[in-house]
Structure formats: structure tokens, C-alpha cells
Symmetry: C2
Subunit: 384 residues, 2 copies
Amino acid sequence: MERLFTSNLKLGIIAGGQLGKMLIQEASRWDITTLVMDPEENCPAGSIATHSIVGSPQNYEDVYNFGKKVDVLTFELENVNVEALRRLKAEGLCIAPDPDVLELIQDKGLQKQLYSQKGFPTAPFKLYEDKQALLQDMATGVLTLPFVQKLRKGGYDGRGVAVIRTQDDVATMLEGPCLVEDLVDLHKEIAVIAARNIQGDVRSFPVVEMAFDPKANLVEKLICPAELDVALAVQAQEIAEGLVRELNMVGVLAVEFFLDAKGELLVNEVAPRPHNSGHHTIESVITSQYEQHLRCVLGLPLGSTRLKMPAVMLNLLGEPGYAGPVRYEGVAQSMALEGVKVHLYGKKYTRPMRKMGHVTIIAPTLEAALEKADQVKDWIKVVS
Amino acid sequence: MERLFTSNLKLGIIAGGQLGKMLIQEASRWDITTLVMDPEENCPAGSIATHSIVGSPQNYEDVYNFGKKVDVLTFELENVNVEALRRLKAEGLCIAPDPDVLELIQDKGLQKQLYSQKGFPTAPFKLYEDKQALLQDMATGVLTLPFVQKLRKGGYDGRGVAVIRTQDDVATMLEGPCLVEDLVDLHKEIAVIAARNIQGDVRSFPVVEMAFDPKANLVEKLICPAELDVALAVQAQEIAEGLVRELNMVGVLAVEFFLDAKGELLVNEVAPRPHNSGHHTIESVITSQYEQHLRCVLGLPLGSTRLKMPAVMLNLLGEPGYAGPVRYEGVAQSMALEGVKVHLYGKKYTRPMRKMGHVTIIAPTLEAALEKADQVKDWIKVVS
């Protein structure tokens, strides 16, 4: 890392979506040459990366060849070819987080086993080889409705998950190695991002609350700080910090929790990278999650996670019924409100529910931010 | 501007130094394709611009050809070929600020005439055709020592200015059309950035104080908010807002003031673009000067200039005695302090006093920020 702070450091990022783009926005402040690899030539990060390379994160050759071009390699997604990473690591490349961490987190079954083995609270679960084994457990009464089925690999953004409440839902069950867990009687969902740097220092960000749209059953907005009992907030941060230590990982780890109706925290899942639940840190925290991730992987001291102002974050999703070249309505109107910070990712085409951008609203009080968030949500539409 | 918020807007920026780079960091948040033109292929902005073009801002053909590639054209410096801009404007290109504003500001004589004609306070001055005319006024006793000589065109960062205190200094006088102004009995220097958008709305940022290093006679740090009587702060903001209105310009205008020993404000000079005195706004104000400039030139509503936290800004200058490939010492150590935000511009080579980066220190109180700034100033060295 002797090239750090010399104008000669090459940072590689796999892949080039919005998370990669926001990592580059921070990296560009430190005179770091950025290379991004993504399957799409016109990926969001491509417009500001120093060099943009087309390749598949799952392809051995693509990952290996990309790794040979850089001094430090990191990720905006966990589904990366681990064999190629292991060869690069053996050849001396600085990779963070470690390939072992990615491999573990690629498999939700291994994730759950880690939680239960190491004493992190999580919903009771059982692993299955395939749908048949699961159906057999149902037939014998070992497994009863309702439950949640999750594919062990490949799911994201709600894909790879089936909620099985009734016999009718059984037809929607997914094929493949999976886990089944108890359906949690949910009070709310919260998230904490914890960071660990090369030196082993650990620090977490303030707790975020995901407020759901009851109609669409989707995260409607994220609120920071979460409206939560202080003891629970501290507990969530301690669990997140414990997990990043347990994984021995370098970088930021986003930990999503269920808070159940009995007031108990349960780890839902983790992501070893910057995360949707940390977008607001760009404007509302002294150190953003992106800067913190870079500090971690570059061996720098951790930055302060002190809140500058409360924040609400809205995802800008493609409006149902529109698919085609994107157009954003209501943006200028929203930007007239104090503290409304618009981020558009640079995806050329919209489709229903695609994540096209986000808006962070900062204000001196959370109440003021929530009020403006309702306005912005009414005004901004992602159409074509 | 119907392409704004569609993924199809091309913004051109002349040129690609640190100010252009920080403009692009903001523009990249709004899905804007950025093109930068600079004489140097490896200019700071080049590493994150969508497209980087080599060309001279003073060359007619280069400016004209660059303008034909973009939808909106703006600037990080004022010394641009105005004839090319006029032709582009006649052909329908959206240019902000207007070529007329650039032309006026390229000439410090015209600047001073505007201040005195329109009632903006400024030090008394007189225009001269050349050094000979000036020497003649000295010989006849019309002009007496001490005074300041400024070339009307081409000066920046202290170049093009000669302070003539004694007969010995006369040998250092500059050749060319110039102005002479009274040497102000300086109490302090302050600056205000005012912004005016296409709609004609005007808003200014909090007043900044430039604290000088008495040994080097250089701006050592910038402090925001300035330690200043409120009435004076309001007056400075009103003058800055009045000037941006008077110029009828679109974009941000940085106004530098002298505050003399009698407590009177005098306009020193202005720059119609983001400015060194506004770097701290990235972290310490809800809207940065860069975002505000973009809001202006894109016809968006102005953003809030409310301070999130007090800030101190240090320029990182090339250490005397070093010239060559740059290396930064003490950066990691400084980043361990809460609220220390490092910006390295990406210039490959350092030389004595070259602006290589800056550090903004934000803290809940100005005192805390000042204390940390002293530490950081001791620690960070730009060497080779």
C-alpha cells in the first residue's frame, strides 16, 4: 500500500452499479485511479470510473484478468467468482473483503449456521437439499405453515425468497438448495452498517429504520436515526460490530434485523459491502459508508460515524407501467425544498420497480425530514 | 433543457483543474454526461469526466469545437476565448455564465470601473496604459508610494500583482495595461459566494474569513463562519448578492473583500465560478458551491446555504524544495481525527506552492475545528 497517497494507486471495483458509482465518487477525492468491471458497458459507475472494463463478476477469466490490472480489489456485490479471487490472493493481490467472506455470504445457509453457532440471534431455520425434501417434511408434519423459504444462493432484492402462508402458496415454492425459517411476527425492520479496517478497528453507523409501504409490501423509506428504544439500538450496533469481527472481514458489513412483536432482535441477513440502507450517510454522517469502506480496504483509520443531521432516504423506483428510456418527473420541484438531495444512478432504461436513484432528505429534525419526504414521494416519478 | 433528468444531458466544462473535478463529482449525482476540455490530458477532472478532450480554453477553434459537442457549457476559469463563445451563443448553445460576463471579469480595469460606477465600495484606483504612464505619474507626484499595481488581464493566484512600497520595489513593476490602487490598511480578508440561477433568484453562502500566515503572506486557512460583526457579515452578503444581480450572471460569483482598519468593506475582486473560498461547502453546507453552480446553470431552484457545521479549510500546497512525482505525508494520521476530510486533486507532479489538494475540517464548534486544523497543518506535507 506504499502507493497510497502518491497518485499511483489503482483501485478495482467489481461491479459498476450505483454502489460502485458512489464508491468512485468518494475515491475520486483521494487521487485514486479507479477501474470498474461490469457486464454492461453503460453501467452507472462507468461514466465516472477512470477506466471501465466489460466483464462478468461470475466469470473466472474476467475476474482474474481484471484483478491483474489493479493494486487493491474490492466489491459492490458479493456474487463474485471466488476461485479467481483465491488465485489473485495467492499471487499477492490485496483483496478486501476476503474471498472466504464472500463465499460464506454467497450462501444464506452458511450465513444462518454462523449466526446460530456463534450466538447471534436469528429466526429458527432448517436447511434443505431441494424442494422435494421440504415437501416431505411438510407431508410428515415436521414442517408446518406458515414459513419462509429462501434459496441458499443467488437471491437479492427480494428475489429468491418465498413466503409460504397457505396451501395455495406451496405452488410458488422455489427449486434448489434452500433454507426454511420461521415467519417472524414483525414489529419493524432495522439495519446497522459496521466497518472493520485492516488494523482490526471496528465502528458502526447509527441505526436505520426501514419503513414499509403497507400496500406494496416494499421498503418505502429509510429513517435515521431509527425510532427505537436506546437499549435496542445499542444492542443492534453491538451485534453488527460482533458480526464484522467474527467474520474477520475488512470493509463495511450491512446487517439487516427483524425486530419482532416481543421486542427481540433477530439477524435477517448481511451484505459485505456498501448497502442501500447506508445511502443517507453521504449527506447526514461525517463519514459516508462509501468513504468508510475505502478507509477500511486501504488500511486507513476509521472515520467518525457521528450524525450531522437526521435523514430520510427514499428509493426512486421505476413506476409500474413504464419501460423504456428514463425520464424523471418532479425533480426540480423537489429540489426547491431545503435539504432534498437527489441521486440519479445513470441507468438509461427504466422498468417497473427498478432502482433508478434515491433521494436523501436532511433536516434539523426528523419530523421535518419526514414531512418533506412525503412531499417528494408524491412529486418524483420515474417514467419513460 | 428538456433533456435535464432524462439521462441524455451533456454538460461541457472548460477546464479540468480541481474546480472542474469537483463540479463533475456533483454532476455525476444527477445522471449528467460530463465533457471536460483542458490543455493537459492528465488533468484532475479527466479521471472522472465521462469524456475528456485536450484543447486550450484560449484557442478559438478548440473552444468552438468543444461547444458543439455539448448541450450546456460552463467554466471553472474565466480566461476563455470569448469570440468562440459568442459564436456558440449565436448558434443557440446554452452558456452560463454569459460570454459578456467573462469578458468583463477578464479585465480587472473594467471590474473596478463597474464597482465605482454602480456604487460598490472598492479601493480608489486609476487605470494606466502601461508602466511608462505610471512612472510619469510618479515623477510628477500625481501618484505616491505606497500603492498596488495590478495587470488588467491574465493574473491569478497572486500573479499579475505587485505591491510597491518603496523606491526599491519600483524595479519589480509589471509591464502592460494595468491599474493602480491604494494599498489598503488591512484588518482582514473575507469572501462571499453568491449564486444567481436562470430564473433570476439570488442567494449567498455564509461569509468566509481568510486567515493569513504572517510569515509567508499567504492564505493559511479559511474559516466559516467568519469571526465578524453580524452587521458586516450581512453587508458583505448584500454586496455579493448585489454584484451577481448587477452582472445579470448565471452561476456562482465569488466576491473577495478587504475589511480595512476603519472597519469598512472594500470589494477586492470577483470570480464568476466556483472558488477556493468555497471548498468547505462540500461538507459543511447543505448545498455545496458546486451543486449550487450546477443548479444555476441548469435552471434549477437554488439550494439551501444553511451551515451544517462550522468548518476550517486548509490548502495543501507543494512544499518548498520539492518538485517531481507527488507523495503526501501525514494524510492517514490526519484522517484519524474526527471531521477531517481530505481532497487530493490528482495532479501527478508537485512543485513549490502548487495547489495539490485541500483539507476541510468540520466540527460542532469552530474552536474545535481550528484546533484540529493546526494539527493537520503540522502533519500533512506535499513532497516528492
